[in-house]
Symmetry: C2
Subunit: 354 residues, 2 copies
């Protein structure tokens, strides 16, 4: 039955690494004339934020997001859990609480055992239960390869939305989960690692990014985004641009999964490692002491990665210790600096120190 199928072997690219590259997306959307946007839409795709915000009244707004991908792991149930955690993440990244989800499912009906698909959906349902989110519908089609994901709607108080545009120079950067799922899952697909060997990354990808409930009464969170397919550098750059600031990372403070650097050194890469580096381009500078492998980690595409928060430096220690109760490997990984323009220089927006 399902045990005989290795899901990662049924697809070319797994997880967020299959995402269309940011530069490609910008190029094709540049030619489109979009419909007029309702004034109630406070945040939409144009700011490259994680989710849309649609105001219903002055106390309630919808947070909406959608994500789906090909299998990133071999176990169907785990794939469903990860896909759900990944889709829910954008709602959490905006400070919202997810409420409803609809399933996006495509699979080869004749080739893939029905039990495999039931297990994928079961895994997603378990994660939705943890997130107190109802599965209210969905759509399924017969397709060459398996894809699964969710469209998610949450609620947020419009006065308490976290966006990627609020970072202030001096803020401390907090990253809630370790990096390295891109290279580790690429190695898994090649058979270099087993799911057991990368259990820490598996657990991390299936953990929901729920912070809203933990931090709802906590002031000092200025901006947030979730770190997924475009990597820490790609999502960091989007946040820096929208906030009109720069970011300085301290490499030694970045939480990394066990074996992640080894896996990069061994050359377990996805196409997204290259396209993410191209997307960030000259906007990142590295301390010369950092090795090529260490630099590559900044572009590693994350699936169900953590949240990147920018927080008031006076409150950073208290906020971090709260977050660590749920995400033990959360770390302070750098700080927000003025934008290169404000500094009167032509320097890069992102810098990575040792």
């Amino acid at each position: 039955m399902s045990e005989t199928v290795r899901l990662t072997q049924t697809v070319q690219k797994g997880g967020c690494a299959a995402k269309v590259a940011a530069h490609e997306l910008r190029a094709l959307l540049a030619r489109v004339k979009f419909p007029p946007t309702d004034p109630a839409v406070r945040v939409d795709g144009s700011t490259f934020d994680d989710a849309a915000i649609v105001e219903i009244n002055d106390r309630l707004a919808l947070v909406q997001t959608l994500d789906f991908f090909t299998p990133i792991v071999d176990s169907p149930r785990l794939f469903g859990q990860i896909a759900a955690a990944n889709a829910l993440s954008d709602v959490y990244a905006m400070g919202g609480l997810p409420k409803t989800a609809m399933a996006i499912l495509a699979y080869p009906v004749a080739k893939l055992d029905r039990q495999v698909i039931s297990e994928v959906i079961q895994g997603a349902c378990e994660t939705l239960s943890q997130a107190k989110t109802s599965l209210v519908g969905g759509h399924s089609i017969d397709d060459e390869t398996l894809k699964f994901g969710l469209s998610v709607t949450g609620f947020v108080d419009p006065r308490r939305v976290w966006t990627n545009a609020g970072a202030q120079p001096g803020d401390v950067l907090i990253l809630t989960k370790p990096l390295g799922t891109g290279t580790l899952t690429a190695g898994l697909k090649k058979g270099a690692w087993s799911e057991n060997e990368m259990a820490e990354a598996m657990d991390s990808m299936s953990q929901i990014n729920a912070l809203t409930d933990l931090l709802s009464d906590t002031p000092g969170i200025h901006a947030a985004t979730d770190v997924t397919g475009f990597g820490l550098a790609g999502h960091g750059l989007q946040l820096a641009k929208e906030s009109q600031c720069g970011l300085e990372f301290s490499f030694s403070h970045l939480p990394l999964f066990c074996k992640a650097l080894t896996s990069l050194t061994a050359g377990h890469l996805t196409k997204a490692h290259r396209t993410n580096a191209e997307y960030v381009g000259e906007e990142i500078s590295f301390n010369e002491s950092l090795s090529p492998t260490q630099r590559l980690m900044m572009f590693d595409p994350q699936t169900s990665g953590g949240l990147l928060l920018t927080v008031d430096p006076d409150r950073a220690a208290a906020i971090l210790s709260r977050i660590q109760k749920r995400f033990p490997r959360a770390s302070a990984v750098g700080r927000v600096i003025p934008s290169p323009a404000a500094r009167g220089s032509a320097a890069a927006r992102l810098s990575v120190e040792p």
Copy 2:
């Protein structure tokens, strides 16, 4: 550029015909333990209704639905328009007004010209403009074949929701669009018809099912559903079961696209013609005078098909004439009858008369 690609030739199955068959879906969902549903969720997938209803307060509820598919036509812009009209339809089928949409996009980045994808999105945006719906986000992946669709959220007054559970014996059945898109698009894919020859069906598939604004002050609409991949018989059966009634169709009153019967006679079929017939099984009976081709029309999978309404017989003429201002081929196609159980018989739920 885009003119050189015939989109229907890039996929095995087009449009709603690619939908996973109803019996397959039931079988795989039967094994899943779903998360507990929030009491605010008034309608979810379990009733096979068109969209979910999530109550926000006693005057406002969300209507949520999601739909995507492979190209059903060759023109990218037209495909985008049809995909959008099809996805919006479920919101209209519940008596709602769509507000926001998120795009679901998968395509072979290296193989398909970027301009083709821009045109698909442009087509969708034009339809969203007509529906006064904002495009607020989406997700795109690199995939073997093109797929496009939308997740749509609308608003509805919870006291005025149209569901598939309210039909009453004696109601008149109104169908707003002609039937036949399944066989016509199968013929198009084989090169038997050109897009010009089936212009009426093309226009119909790209027309939004907006009736809510037209009928918002009109009493007497008891139930509604939209007719898509499971065909008139499949969606009619779901409505009949949820309403605990039977339906009697008059074949000669069914609006059919020009060439639809010819196309069926010529054998332009999809797999869904068979799976839809299997799904309905013994629950349909045909007058013996109806030909095999005429019977097959009841199972023709519709893409962006019309709405099937059941209305108070005393108001049916007035409602139909209102609908015809926007949908000139809308017709009264039969009536609601008591369920076989109520009639004390083992007869089928659906019957088709000449």
